[in-house]
Symmetry: C2
Subunit: 580 residues, 2 copies
């Protein structure tokens, strides 16, 4: 009973052996996380086009839900609002043309769908779907989104209005509004950007050179947004910036996150479904990547389906408490782990602290200029842009480079959702194109050994009558027809050949299309006076062939090794090669 309850609620497992020492570490971690999370919650709500409290609400109950249902013991993942999902939320909702309360209600419907989809994927154990986002596509998506996020915040720095969900929409709008820039807002915004850059880069380096421990010196980097926000609040209050036309966050509803039912409008839900699916996928992939890299540091393992369920629970909690889509944040998780936090309790503590922030600090936050939040978003996301990785990927394999570049450009020029769809479709297409012309090597025997190698790379011995081919690819539908063509060509060029041995050491799968092709090849070779044989067929592949009626028609043999095949079909050549 207790153990099944522990399986369902992994937080309970944490409590065994939970001591004061670990609690102290977790509490310290939670404190640092909430100091970082407070400005982020406000900023990402602004990025999503939502009022500030949506970000704070998304930082309380979702953290509890994740700690209760999803967290892996030993991994202190920091869940909550994140920049990329906030951008995706905005670009999913903007085309609907809603505003005010209707926009907020649609955001909750979207969050509900994200939560339901994640929970569904967890229950159906479909976490493998996340694998379709290849690393290059993710890298291109993150860089593209970061640039787009930065571009979308420029209007807050200028104090103007300019909407758009891709660069071709944003740039002309910003350009047209440039003359209408608001001086004081611009001063506050650029000042914040400058201060943030100084606090994050040069200052930690200076402190370190002055003899501070690196971990202490890095605190300046980590807490930079909080310092800037504090300073800006002070300035805003002293100079009464809001009365000078600088847009501020405004009144934040300080009520507790209550139970809010997302509107259940079937037409709206259907409209939002594709966006929700993409948000769920991206949020899950980001979260699982962070979880795995943190788990590896502690020699722990992550169960993807459990993680999926936890993310689903967190998003459902966000949907029912007035939040926005949530996922794990890398910067916040890293700060928690660095400070010694090791258990999901860090999420519980963070939620409690964020509740205090909501109740006690909101009257203060009212005066915070939006330009300061924009500055903190811009400086944060610019760190995510990694164009060197594009160059590295391109050099390694142009197909992957194309997928990464297309995703990046797709996000910037069309939008976040089309960008990721383009990337996934292209990476699938390019992969299939790659495997549709597999590497087929004519192989010969290495003198003095039983090994067979490509005749174009090694000085090997070839038989006159036995053609040995090694196929370096699984045989399946994209390459089934190419195999037929290639074998026909090779045999046509060698009139003395009487046997063809297909060396299957690289064949991990023969699907139904390739099975048809093999039968076709066998029949065609047969009527040309050539007998087809197989060698080095892997266990699972052979088992499957035996289950079909292939061997009822196949007159050739299946040899354990290519050497065994040659020993029987052309013993003289095999012997000569071995004794050379």
């Amino acid at each position: 009973m207790l153990s099944s309850l522990q399986r369902a609620l992994p937080l309970l497992a944490t409590w065994r052996g939970y001591d004061r020492r670990q609690a102290g570490h977790d509490l310290l971690g939670a404190l640092l996380v909430s100091l970082l999370l407070t400005p982020q919650a406000l900023a990402y709500a602004q990025l999503a086009g939502l009022p500030a409290e949506a970000g704070l609400f998304a930082s309380i109950l979702p953290l509890l839900a994740y700690a209760l249902f999803g967290a892996s013991p030993g991994v202190a993942l920091a869940v909550g609002p994140v920049a990329i999902l906030a951008l995706m939320t905005a670009s999913a909702l903007q085309p609907l043309g809603l505003s005010g309360a209707a926009y907020g209600a649609a955001a909750l419907s979207l969050t509900l769908l994200v939560g339901l989809l994640l929970a569904l994927l967890a229950l159906l154990r479909l976490g493998f779907l996340a694998n379709f986002l290849s690393h290059p596509v993710i890298a291109g998506f993150v860089s593209g989104s970061a640039l787009l996020i930065a571009a979308s915040q420029v209007r807050h720095l200028l104090g103007v209005s300019a909407e758009g969900h891709n660069l071709p929409q944003l740039f002309p709008a910003l350009w047209a509004q440039l003359p209408a820039s608001h001086g004081p807002t611009l001063a506050v915004g650029l000042g914040s950007v400058l201060l943030l850059v100084l606090l994050r880069g040069p200052l930690p380096r200076l402190l370190q050179r002055l003899g501070l421990k690196p971990s202490r010196a890095q605190l300046s980097n980590r807490l930079a947004p909080l310092l800037v926000v504090g300073l800006a609040l002070l300035l805003s209050a002293l100079l009464q910036l809001d009365s000078q036309g600088v847009r501020v966050v405004g009144a934040v509803t300080a009520h507790l996150p209550g139970f809010s039912l997302p509107s259940f409008n079937p037409a709206l839900l259907l409209d939002l479904l594709p966006s929700a699916a993409l948000i769920a996928l991206v949020g899950f992939v980001e979260s699982i990547s962070i979880a795995q890299s943190l788990a590896a540091r502690q020699r722990q393992s992550v169960q993807p389906d459990r993680e999926l369920f936890g993310q689903g629970a967190a998003n459902l909690a966000a949907a029912f408490s007035g939040g926005l889509p949530v996922a794990a944040s890398f910067s916040r998780s890293a700060i928690a782990v660095d400070s010694g936090a090791r258990t999901p309790m860090v999420g519980v503590f963070t939620a409690a602290l964020m509740l205090l922030v909501l109740v006690l600090l909101t009257p203060l936050l009212r005066l915070l200029p939006q330009a300061v939040l924009a500055a903190s978003i811009i400086v944060a996301v610019l760190g995510l842009i990694d164009l060197r990785s594009l160059w590295r990927t391109w050099r390694y394999a142009w197909q992957d480079g194309v997928a990464q570049a297309a995703t990046l450009l797709g996000v910037l020029l069309v939008g976040v959702e089309p960008g990721i769809v383009i990337g996934v479709a292209l990476s699938l297409l390019l992969f299939l194109w790659r495997t549709s012309r597999p590497h087929i090597a004519v192989v010969g025997q290495l003198p003095g050994s039983e090994h067979f190698r490509n005749i174009e790379r090694y000085a090997v011995v070839q038989s006159e009558t036995v053609l040995s081919l090694r196929v370096d690819e699984s045989l399946y539908f994209p390459n089934a027809r190419y195999l037929e063509e290639r074998i026909a060509e090779l045999v046509a060029a060698r009139p003395a050949v009487r046997h063809l041995v297909l060396m299957c050491s690289g064949v991990n799968l023969i699907d139904a299309s390739a099975l048809d092709s093999l039968e076709t090849i066998d029949a065609r070779l047969h009527s040309a006076g050539v007998q087809l044989h197989l060698s080095e067929v892997k266990g699972p592949v052979l088992d499957r062939l035996k289950r079909s009626d292939f061997f009822q028609r196949f007159a050739g043999q299946v040899f354990v090794s290519q050497y065994a095949a040659l020993c029987q079909l052309d013993p003289q050549t095999a012997q000569q090669a071995l004794s050379r």
Copy 2:
């Protein structure tokens, strides 16, 4: 000059060495093809919802265009209207709600798009795209379409109106109309079905038993539609069936196929584009399969891009001469080849004969009951249904079986286009799912040899400190993360392990995602005190790794063989195993 002209127009190559003997064979073939084609042209035009002359027009100029631009020398492919494309044409056009001349004009626009797409694919050398239609998907599609075609023709047998492009639409409509069936029409229709079945099956068998040569006896099968059409025409004229309410083909415009410009309506063309892409793909796949199987019989080869261009030219000719989408027909091509036709001239002769049919026979065809055409369609397509193949595929690999069954059911229950899209998407998804959890075997040394085999299948010798893993799959994005997880598990279960050797004999590709994963695995193993090595890496894979910066960070070694790895990392075990 001449040779480049010959390359552009393969028909010219045929003329070298073309003698009276071959001309005689080709003419005989053309005669048999046009006897078969005449009723088919009328029937498939009816199936596509077009007037009878569209089918005849599609049987003249397109054949000339194909013979001129596309035909492979030595392969006598019979191009023209085919049943499945006629069905696809009807289901592409019906949702537009057009009728009469507008419907005909839309059909020409569709044919134009099909021709342009095929020519474009040929010029861009994208023929490999056709490979994405796996054999199970094609098989499911053909069986499903055949059933749907048969169902769609039942209304003509009953003499009622019942539209629909899937079974859930057709069946209720037919059921409701059943009481309104027209007696004389039903008698003509069922009579034709019965006669066709007798002529195709029992009669040839009887003739053969009476001593006729099989090839002669099969003529009854081949010419059955023509005999039934002739008989029906006689009956229709004698009994004046049209005045008794039996619907007949009606007046066929007997003018020559003139130059008709398809309407160039951008909105319509955009609407028709997805359907045109599917028709082009299906037509090309069917044609290339027929060409390859006929070419193999004559020891000829087919150039896919040339074939693609020929199909494009044929469809463009159809679009500009009032036809409908065309492709190669298996039954007509087979009859031509069986009668000794061997060159593309058979298409030229067939076009000439069909011109005669159009000019001389159309006054006769006026009286042909539609029910007779419906009967010939039904009997012809029922031969395409192959449910045994579904069972065979299912038994071989359930993933392929699922794709085949889903395509078949998709076609029947939703429609031809959704059916094929479902099939292709599902076969891609299932393939990726399959490879997302690759077979990773722990291997050990076969006693007395240098070979390594799966420890679960063979009695092998394992080292205490060296873990040997064989990955039976390319390493790429769908399985990159699984590899990380699996290796972490395996190493965690073996505390004594100091070296892990990844045997890459089955790895044909390491993409950028897998490269990232390998680096992650290396770093994680390293901090756990385990060194990662590679063995038996294929040439192209190693070349690519060397081009990246992988080896700047990788501290392990790359061994030529797994045995060489063990010899260095645990020489004692390797020696003991070899001498056992």
